[in-house]
Amino acid sequence: MNLLRLKAIIRKEFYHLIRDYRSLYLAFAIPLILIILFGYALSLDVDNVGTVFVDYDKSELSRDFIRKLGASPYFHVSGLLPQTKDAIDYLDHDRAKIVIVIPPDFMKSIRADREIQMQIIIDASDPTFGNIIRGYITAFTEQYNQKLLISFLNRQGMEQIKTPVDGRIRIWFNEDLESRNFIIPGIIAIIIMIVGAMMTSLIIAREYENGTMETIKSMPVRAGELLLGKAIPYFFIGLTDVLIAILLGQLLFGIVMKGNFWLMIASASLYLSVALSLGLWISNVTKSQLMANQIAILTTYLPSFLLSNFVFPIINMPKFLQLLTLFVPARYFIDILSGIYLRNLGFAYLWPSMLVLLIMFSLLTFFNYRLLKKEGL
């Protein structure tokens, strides 16, 4: 390793970047756009679900039922319609997600201790949404029934009956249950992949395509120096992006890292190194920018988005995909991010994930080195 030669390569790559200033802009603009989009616009939380009622009973009890449901933060009663037909129309035109039909003898049946059917229709075209709403509404009616049971027992002369069990539910790690709190840190993993792997996937292929690889080969530059020199400028861009993401998350959205900042920087650097060596490897293997580009999307961006526990829970995937996620670096980094951001975990907990990243990095670097050696560098 010769520092002078290394410096020359870094300078060359740096000039490439500066002269191609649009790529550089985008390397900072894409993280910004992602953070702002995810922070402001995108949420996976389901609350205030538009609900319309058709109340055929129009009794004291039916009005109470509607009021109780509306009081829950999960539902928002957006209309009271005279006919089921009208309500279905709401559903068809996407103006409501739930239709609840209260039958005409609702109060009479309940008072007469008879079970009464209530028609509830959920728009499940988005199954994620449909599933959550079904869970909410089931929980709501069960709770409602429990109250009816208690009042029934009280009426039977058994005063002061209490519910046997009271579940005191406490939410850990993401106390206010905001999807933002886990998505924004997760974006850091995506950003690093876009900047680290996708951008670098082109930079050795470019040399081959332009024929400048021959020039480099004829120079005294060694394989290690070339790799390091190509990676270092992108390493700094990547790390700056991480800092921007951390800062914006905190300033704009109040997402505070519970764990140690330096541990975060250390693991981000490690993951960034994996991303860079992955990008360079793709570049080395394909030697064509178009190919590299396609493969980079397929092997870096999409898996970090889909197979990393970022928004799609790995535990819900079929077994073969769960196995596949073991080879996705982002999976380990998202694990670390969740540990540092939400769980306040230290190195004692996070080292296994970091170790895997380290192994990935070493392997990829070894492959890169060998490929370039074979080319005669």
Binding site: D113, Q117, D123, V165, F173, M198, N210, L306, P313
Partner: protein
């Protein structure tokens, strides 16, 4: 306009695309892999909540409570722990999603007719999953309570209650694949047409062959047509391939009309090819083009209702989604696939796609021509 010149350019483009064997393989494998992964990844069906139980009571009652969790298909009791430290540890290490802590006086309090509190710790890090866990927990507890009351007060229990008949419309089995697989078709078409078109033009610039093309008698609009036709064909081919996978592999019923589907794709391609051309006018290198494509693809993707429901977005952003052709294409795809309704219902979507496509495409062409002339 000379069709001969266009044809030759198209031929050149195809030769360039397919001369590289790896490229050929890529064109086929790329959509396949994406389709398969996407198709299986997106699954929010809750069926596997891992629960750790700390039972200090160890009584008939406490066991009945844990059994009622284990008995529901959704919860799985994976760990029985002896102390609180272990419980915390399991939650911290993401080994379980939920912890239940039953105090030592649990049974005696219930037998006394009082309310026994139990502590339920839920990992909230993925908030949407956590909300479902909370809702299901509440259901299990309510059911347990009712049974317990019935046991404590043995008497006629036919009390008036609500029997919720919940029906899930449009996707009765709540099958995630029904919703996501048709949408993947759109995303694949988008990525291909965006990136390949822009790179096809840039490559000429980078290789210096653009100068050669300019000195040929090729007119600028012929150049544009010749450059876009291969990618229209390629996108439509990919589209057909992934639709076949959707139908035969994922067994998504294609209820509606196939020609309407392809019409929508062509209209959608107007926008994406237009943007691809636009990107090629503002980029000088392939790296730039790729990054710029991503700059467009990300918001298109996120603000389309593909994964993130539009109804959840702030109103201003919801308005913004009306500018997103992918949003309308997704509606068309999902509706044609699943509901099978025709043009009479979908015409507004087609209209918007046409308008957006025409604006984007003519805008891009006029900019592109200025660059060429």
């Amino acid at each position: 306009m000379s069709w001969l010149r266009i044809r030759e350019l198209v031929r050149k483009e195809f030769i360039q695309l397919f001369s590289d064997k790896r490229n050929r393989v890529m064109m086929v494998i790329f959509p396949f892999i994406q389709m398969l992964i996407f198709g299986y990844v997106v699954n929010y069906d809750i069926s596997n909540i891992r629960v750790a139980v700390l039972d200090d009571s160890k009584t008939y009652e406490s066991r009945k409570l844990t059994d009622s969790f284990a008995g529901s298909k959704i919860f799985h009791i994976t760990n029985n722990v002896a102390d609180e430290r272990q419980l915390t540890e399991l939650l911290l290490r993401e080994k379980v999603d939920m912890g239940i802590k039953i105090g030592h006086d649990f049974a005696s309090v219930i037998r006394r007719g009082d309310t026994a509190p139990i502590q339920i710790l839920v990992d909230g890090s993925m908030s949407n999953m956590a909300s479902m866990r909370v809702a299901y927990t509440a259901s299990v507890l309510d059911k347990f309570n009712r049974e317990e009351l019935r046991e404590l007060y043995p008497m006629n229990m036919s009390y008036g209650k609500v029997d919720a008949r919940i029906r899930t419309w449009y996707n009765p089995n709540l099958n995630s694949q029904y919703f996501f697989v048709p949408a993947i078709v759109a995303v694949l078409v988008m990525i291909t047409s965006f990136i390949l078109t822009s790179i096809a033009v840039i490559r000429e610039k980078e290789d210096g062959t653009m100068e050669q093309l300019i000195v040929t008698p090729l007119k600028s609009y012929e150049f544009i047509i010749g450059k876009t036709i291969p990618y229209i064909i390629l996108s439509l081919g990919q589209m057909a391939a992934v639709i076949v996978i959707a139908i035969y592999w994922f067994e998504i019923p294609l209820v509606g009309s196939v020609p309407l589907l392809f019409l929508a794709t062509c209209l959608f391609l107007l926008s994406t090819l237009g943007i691809g051309l636009f990107i090629s006018t503002i980029s000088a290198t392939q790296q730039q083009a790729m990054m710029t494509s991503f700059f467009f693809i990300l918001p298109f993707f996120m603000l389309s209702g593909f994964v993130f429901p539009i109804a959840n977005m702030p109103v201003v952003v919801q308005w913004l989604t009306y500018l997103n052709p992918l949003r309308f294409f997704l509606v068309i795809l999902r509706v044609i696939f699943l509901k099978g309704v025709g043009f009479d219902v979908l015409w507004p979507q087609y209209l918007v796609l046409t308008i957006l496509g025409t604006i984007v495409f003519t805008g891009a062409i006029s900019r592109f021509k200025k660059r060429l002339d």
